[in-house]
Symmetry: C2
Subunit: 229 residues, 2 copies
DNA sequence: CTTTCGATTATGTCTATACATTATTGCTCG
DNA sequence: CGAGCAATAATGTATAGACATAATCGAAAG
């Protein structure tokens, strides 16, 4: 049960930094000093510090030394689970209804000019509308979707299982429902909704663009930041 | 301008994975094979693969080998910049007005039971209300805030500069403004707002809890996922 | 046919050393 | 006094070899 040496070094400094004992901007000992203090080789120290550096905890400058990073904008991890899985995890019944499906030529966005499948549908939790979505899927990037049965399975779930993306942009904002949107969600016009717009790529090839409108009472996003991940 | 060897190895496999040439679950060559293919030592290969592994692109299993990771869909990076900086970056004028400041004993949440400073204020962009916020700051964890001048600087900005947090939870959801909230934001009652609730810790010590209500038209969150950062 | 257990093979970590890179420090020269 | 340049001190990358660890595979035992 002996802890690897490099890990011990990492833990040592991570703890001291998180405890505030080493304030932002403070200088750490040189690799030489750490090396003798821990009784190990310099490579081991270097690798441990590299890990902390890529985690954003410290900053290393040649000739100058190693310093505790000054926290800038904090990046948080936003959980984006599959909607169906998320609803069922709450013990609710999940259902998806496909409302529209047609082949189009995209006119805007990152899919602009490409042949795409236009899909619209409604997500239900325990029989009540939870969200409506409007999606374009590139037929060039995902030809298989032309033959997919999407009447029961949400397109997002299908895509997740068939061609995972490698890059994505997400915009999150509040939106007052239009009359049409409100009707589809069983709300009054102008009711507050959470809107999520996401564009995804595989490498540089656009895959899909989706706009999801959630009933405010039924959905929230949760993000977390911390050393535990 | 010779690229470091380890970086070349990383790039090689990253490109092939992102291009789909190496499908999820596919096995990479062993370190021995890569080592001879690139004409370098095993340490170099190992370090390169370790980097890819910690980036989540590959998965390494002893005895079995190295495999392309099945994409984890559920983690995106949400930037949490300082609000003042974000507004000014858009070329707008930023202002904060402190509306209330009183010492209280927290009654709920992670600060429950602790002595805290209750702060309420309004964020303005180009003179128009952008958001209202309601915040509790632990006086035990941040005694210095008792003497801080917060009439012009937002408490979040002050905290960011004085005691950065190490852990945070964020909830994001849509909210229809109450009559009071709407009045403060210059909206009609029921107008859609984006609500962000955040609790932060330093280690295990609670720092602050904040609820920010944004005018829907003026604010959106942006999250990103991808190797590009 | 199933279970156990050892051999094998891959990754994981570490060492000691070497040389490259780079920004600072400080000295020299105008 | 200042501009430029060289010495220096730190990190960055790499090597070849050694042993540790763990999971798989296959053979032996039940």
């Amino acid at each position: 049960m002996t802890q690897p040496l490099g890990e011990a070094i990492r833990d040592h400094f991570e703890r001291r930094i998180l405890a505030g004992e080493l304030a932002p901007g403070a200088r750490l000992p040189t690799e030489q000093e750490i090396m003798t203090a821990f009784g190990c080789s310099r490579m081991t120290v270097s690798k441990a510090l590299s890990t902390l550096a890529s985690a954003g905890l410290i900053e290393r400058r040649k000739r100058a030394g190693t310093f505790v990073a000054r926290p800038r904008v904090h990046a948080m991890v936003l959980e984006v689970p599959d909607l169906a899985a998320q609803v069922m995890e709450r013990g609710q019944d999940y259902r998806f209804r496909l409302d529209r499906r047609e082949k189009v030529t995209a006119r805007e966005g990152h899919l602009s000019g490409q042949s795409a499948l236009h899909l619209a549908g409604t997500h239900f939790a325990d029989g009540a509308p939870l969200a409506i979505e409007d999606r374009l899927v590139s037929l060039a990037a995902v030809p298989a979707i032309a033959d997919a049965d999407l009447t029961g399975e949400a397109p997002g779930t299908w895509l997740l299982h068939h061609i995972p993306w490698t890059e994505a942009d997400t915009r999150i904002f509040a939106h007052g429902a239009s009359a049409e949107e409100a009707a589809a969600l069983g709300l009054q016009a102008g009711a507050a909704c959470l809107c999520i717009e996401r564009r995804t790529w595989r490498g540089t090839e656009p895959i899909t663009a989706v706009r999801q409108l959630f009933v405010a009472a039924g959905y929230e996003l949760v993000a977390h930041f911390g050393p535990g991940g």
